[in-house]
Subunit: 466 residues, 2 copies
């Protein structure tokens, strides 16, 4: 052993041969696109030059420091209708930008159908369609309310939701508890057992978790658990196995202290421990409250939300209060498919969960999760390169999340639309892939890329400092 | 991203400048000692040449395949006296080779004293010394009985022990459950609370765990949990945080199903979850049963046990049935000390826990635990180098334990005394460091090196194939 620990970090511009050689030597390297900035678009280059100001830099620094200073606490479990301000009693919330039922991808349609059946509003597709036509059921995007949903992301009024509050800022977000594997509406597939599980979650799981949370005054510190989890193989989007175990460690004594019945505790512990995504909804709400607290700082070019519905991708930017910039989702051509499936079978990229990457986790820290290095090439060297690439389009980083497996490199934080457009590549988003038509649910996993068109739209719309 | 994933792996012989340069470029490199084999000792070189035979290779392959095929199951909890065959009712077992009380290091003396008080055999040092002189209390090494103890490793007759059975081979090992942090006898320090905790472990914890285990027929598969843990930041010697969480996941429903009282379950869950070493004793017993199953194959030059008592280090070799080879422990000069302490304050390397490295875990897979890369230099590159060095003195590897953080490199397995002596370096052992005199307990952590003298003794004694 020796104490020499200097390392080369190379940013290679052009000349891909040299890049390849460095890669072979395992030197952390970023191959930066050699093309002219912004693809040579003169108007965009001009816009970029005008946005290179101290006001923007300060606004961006403030944006990411608000995310870093956030402390999202899981404080309660409540029925969606009671918890989510403004939600109507006949609304079904869904992931991604606003969309009509007929335009939704097949899995999201199925999830909406299951939710309508769960609410007792319909018994089949026909009944659902009639009520959608008559306006008795209305579809609304989660992002209009501050709620978030993984994959299809459907929330109906009587579903119970996690209530997460960002302690220093006081803002909240909501999401349903994760259903697990098999026939589950977040993956756009359901059967009779699915509806029964949703009822159990509403009638047994939720009241028990609520009682458990009441035993602990300030709730459960979500980022604290994530910080531990990122040292234990989780990037908290595709993989939340460690965070799920850490959640169990916290929850079990709380359930016992709350006087929840023994057989109920056993079932809850098994329900949570059998699903490595059990922690995911907590991550989503935490990231959402952090990004919402950071939204609305004039001149900020940092992305504060990304959201997809399988058809369209939407993002918003810190300095533009009420605007969402929408473009078609990118094809799922880099994902890893289960045997027998391929990109032609895939629905488009879907879920509000890209809020995870927006908050500097998931794909931003893919090196935290060695088990998914296959998403970006198959080795930790590839994961380091992916993180370096993400760092180059971000405004800063977050030392609170610093995965040990990549030598405690801090998480890239704050996707800067200027850097994305200038360098010509977009954030990667860790995700699952759904079948586009068969109702079979998940058919793969891997990365999706945010579509460049949405970033360009946002950049064009960005107001210039006075 | 690119699919080029070739990497340089360099074994550098001599010329340390080139080695240093490669290290700076983060190229996985092993600096191999350039000196003549076996330090130029002609008799040893001759012995090495004569041991280069197909019989030895076959025996070594058989040895490591027995370790790989082992499936240690935690099946029961019993009082030590009932569980450990041959243990006498007046015996105090300790880690490392046989040693008189007066020759023990200070922390092990304190641990023995605490155990005598716990048993009601003495109230102070004076009473203990009298009974040791009269033979009313006898000191015995764990290794004479097949039991194992971490650090000071003291087991007394009424302490309850984990019973682990190696399913395919039927052999067993035993260890006490880990006490945790603070004043604890495994770290050679105690007070009134320590004795109370030992009583609680005997009277409450042990019967509850026994009842829990009875709810599951075949017991708990220890290597299965370790395989998961090595993908979550544990090398299972210095760090068992993930395995401890995985243990909780298994145990909690078992405790609930066993009808253990609610407040007892709460206390047990908290006791286990507050101590990241809670899983350690299971690892020790599992590794011991695996190595014992592999012991006794004629001509095997693979080490099947390493054990230290703070003064002396002992090892045994697969092909030499009843012999232990003993040498003074190496100095703790590579450890990382808590503020205010240094190597001069340290007791010698201590504990039966080097069975972990013997079984191809701990220091052998230090890259599994990014949080302790500081033990070997501070980066994952250093950890990879350390693993490559360990691989070069091992007979094979174990794909069952393949840490993701080092691109699923299989664990080096089966320390070959021939390779150790030929290459001139010994295994690293992840360990804690105890104060040599003050009774303060742990003062550091890091790696110890097994003393070369023990390997040379073993090599000299190794019988030649006919």
């Amino acid at each position: 052993m020796t104490d020499i620990s200097q390392e080369l970090h190379v940013i290679n511009v052009g000349l891909e041969g040299f890049y390849t050689e460095l890669q072979e030597q395992n030197v952390p390297t970023v191959q930066v696109d050699w093309r002219p900035p912004a693809g040579g678009d003169v108007a965009l280059i001009d816009k970029l030059a005008r946005l290179q100001t101290p006001e923007v830099e300060e606004a961006n620094a403030k944006t990411i420091s608000r995310i870093r200073d956030s402390r999202p606490m899981w404080i309660d479990v409540q029925p969606a209708l009671a918890a989510i301000p403004g939600m109507e009693g006949n609304a079904l919330l869904h992931s991604g930008p606003p969309i009509d039922f007929g335009d939704m991808c097949d899995p999201q349609q199925r999830a909406v159908e299951a939710a309508a059946i769960f609410e007792g509003w319909a018994v089949d597709r026909e009944g659902l369609l009639a009520k959608l036509r008559s306006g008795d059921i209305r579809l609304r995007p989660n992002y209009a309310y501050g709620s978030v949903g993984a994959m299809c992301g459907v929330i109906s009024p009587s579903m119970q939701v996690i209530v997460t509050e960002n302690a220093p800022y006081g803002n909240r977000s909501w999401s349903t508890f994760n259903e697990g594997k098999g026939n589950v509406i977040w993956m756009g597939t359901y059967d009779k057992g699915t509806i029964e599980r949703l009822r159990w979650m509403r009638d047994v799981l939720a009241p028990s978790l609520r009682a458990a949370l009441r035993t602990r005054n300030e709730g459960l510190d979500i980022f604290k658990i994530i910080a531990e989890g990122t040292l234990m193989g989780d990037e908290v989007h595709a993989r939340s196995a460690a965070c799920t175990l850490l959640l169990l460690r916290e929850l079990t004594p709380m359930l016992l202290n709350a006087g929840v019945k023994r057989d109920v505790i056993t079932r809850i512990v098994e329900f949570i421990s059998q699903n490595n995504h059990s922690f995911l909804s907590l991550t989503l709400t935490a990231c959402k409250t952090a990004c919402d607290a950071a939204h609305g700082i004039p001149h900020s070019t940092v992305v504060t939300a990304m959201s997809r519905n399988g058809v369209n991708f939407a993002l918003r930017v810190g300095g533009m209060k009420d605007d969402w910039f929408i473009a078609p989702t990118a094809p799922m051509d880099e994902a890893i498919y289960y045997s027998g499936y391929g990109p032609d079978d895939a629905a488009g990229d879907i879920g509000d969960s890209a809020i995870v990457e927006t908050a500097g986790l998931g794909g931003m820290i893919i090196g935290a999760a060695p088990s998914i290095s296959s998403f970006v090439g198959g080795s930790m060297g590839h994961s380091r390169q992916a993180m370096a690439a993400m760092r180059s389009i971000c405004a800063g980083d977050n030392p609170a999340f610093a995965p040990g497996a990549v030598d405690f490199t801090p998480a890239p934080l704050g996707i800067d639309i200027r850097k994305v457009v200038r360098l010509g590549f977009t954030p990667i988003i860790d995700t699952g892939v759904l079948h586009k038509a068969s109702g079979v649910g998940q058919i793969g996993t891997g990365i999706a890329r945010a579509p460049m068109a949405a970033f360009i739209k946002a950049l064009r719309a960005m107001p210039l400092p006075a």
